[in-house]
Amino acid sequence: MDVSFVCLFVVAFWQVSGNVEGDALNALKSNLADPYNVLQSWDPTLVNPCTCDIGDAGLSGQLVPQLGQLRHLQYLEMFNNSISGGIPREVGKLKKLVSLDLYLNRLSGPIPDTLGSLHRLRFLRLNNNNFSGHIPMSLTTINTLQLLDLSNNQLTGPIPVNGSFKYFTPASFANNPLDPLPA
């Protein structure tokens, strides 16, 4: 696997007493195997925004529901690791999220329909995983969506073409056993 990707996990802390968010980060940290110790630098007591470089880190393990407590999170960038399991439904609580990049991992299960609540999302890249089930119709209600990549998964069912999905082409859905788009 090409090892040149860099991944940014940017968390904006608005208050010193970010204990809830600190606990959330700790929960995530303890649920991931981190052979190269890249998560060592995460300091939940930091006041300033923290840029934590966890790209190409050989991270494995799973995401945690506590991610949903990072209410100010704008960028969730964990691409190109070996993370398995599903996307917690709680990710739908990250109302400020602008970018959700979990591509090139070993994630599986459905794409949660709660992601349709991310009404500031611009980039949604879940390609190259093992997601299954249908594409949630709720995603078509995200009007800010600019770039969608669900390619290279095991998704089935129809490709939505309404709402924000008018803007997406077969390029966004390639290599899935989805129903073909009507001619």
Partner: protein, 210 residues
């Protein structure tokens, strides 16, 4: 014999793996090389376009699908003062969905086989250039088009009626050209008079009847 089979199998596996992980095809790089060589660039806006085996994703005006994957999704070169004709080599950017060449000095025809050059185009802005000749009917085969801006050029002849088949179109303008004839009928939308203004002989809704 067995070792040849093994070599072939290994090669096929590697190719399959490359395909599955969406690695760069050389064609996006060739596409950008073709664009750069198609245009005179008096303001040197394309100075950052240096082809030295590093990522094309940081080039001015280029947006990629993913970080440094060399797979172009959008090309935005508006107002760069570029001179020349439509770069046919753009076909190499096979995953491109957005092209904005507005506000340059591009002349000549819009390619008659444009749907073969950009299958997945959703937003095409060629406005404010010096394009001449007719609007190609083949644009009707760019079925994912949401935005089509051809205004402020020197396009002549009729608007191909097949354009009315583009059922994702939500922004359309051919204003300020040399167009004549009947305005196409769209099934689920109609565009305001401003989309057609500044032409010598267009007729039909929303303009006066032919």
């Amino acid at each position: 014999m067995v070792s040849e089979f093994r070599a072939a199998f290994a090669l096929i596996s590697i190719l399959a793996w490359l395909l599955l992980t969406g690695h760069a095809t050389p064609s996006d790089i060739e596409c950008l090389k073709a664009i750069k060589s198609s245009f005179k660039d008096p303001n040197n806006y394309l100075a950052s376009w240096i082809f030295d085996n590093s990522s094309i994703c940081k080039f001015t005006g280029i947006e990629c699908w993913h970080q440094d994957d060399n797979k172009v999704i959008n090309i935005r070169l508006s107002g760069f003062g570029l001179k020349g004709e439509f770069p046919l080599g753009i076909a190499g950017c096979a995953s491109m969905t957005g092209l904005d060449l507005s506000g340059n000095s591009i002349h000549g025809n819009i390619p008659s086989n444009i749907s073969k050059l950009m299958t997945y185009i959703t937003s095409l802005d060629l406005s404010s250039n010096q394009f001449s000749g007719e609007i190609p009917a083949d644009l009707a085969n760019c079925s994912y088009l949401n935005v089509l801006k051809l205004d402020n050029n020197r396009l002549a002849g009729h608007i191909p009626p097949q354009i009315g088949l583009l059922n994702r179109l939500r922004t359309f303008s051919v204003a300020k050209n040399q167009l004549t004839g009947r305005i196409p009928i769209f099934r689920n939308i109609s565009f305001p008079a401003g989309s057609y203004a500044g032409n010598p002989g267009l007729c039909g809704k929303p303009l006066p009847a032919c």
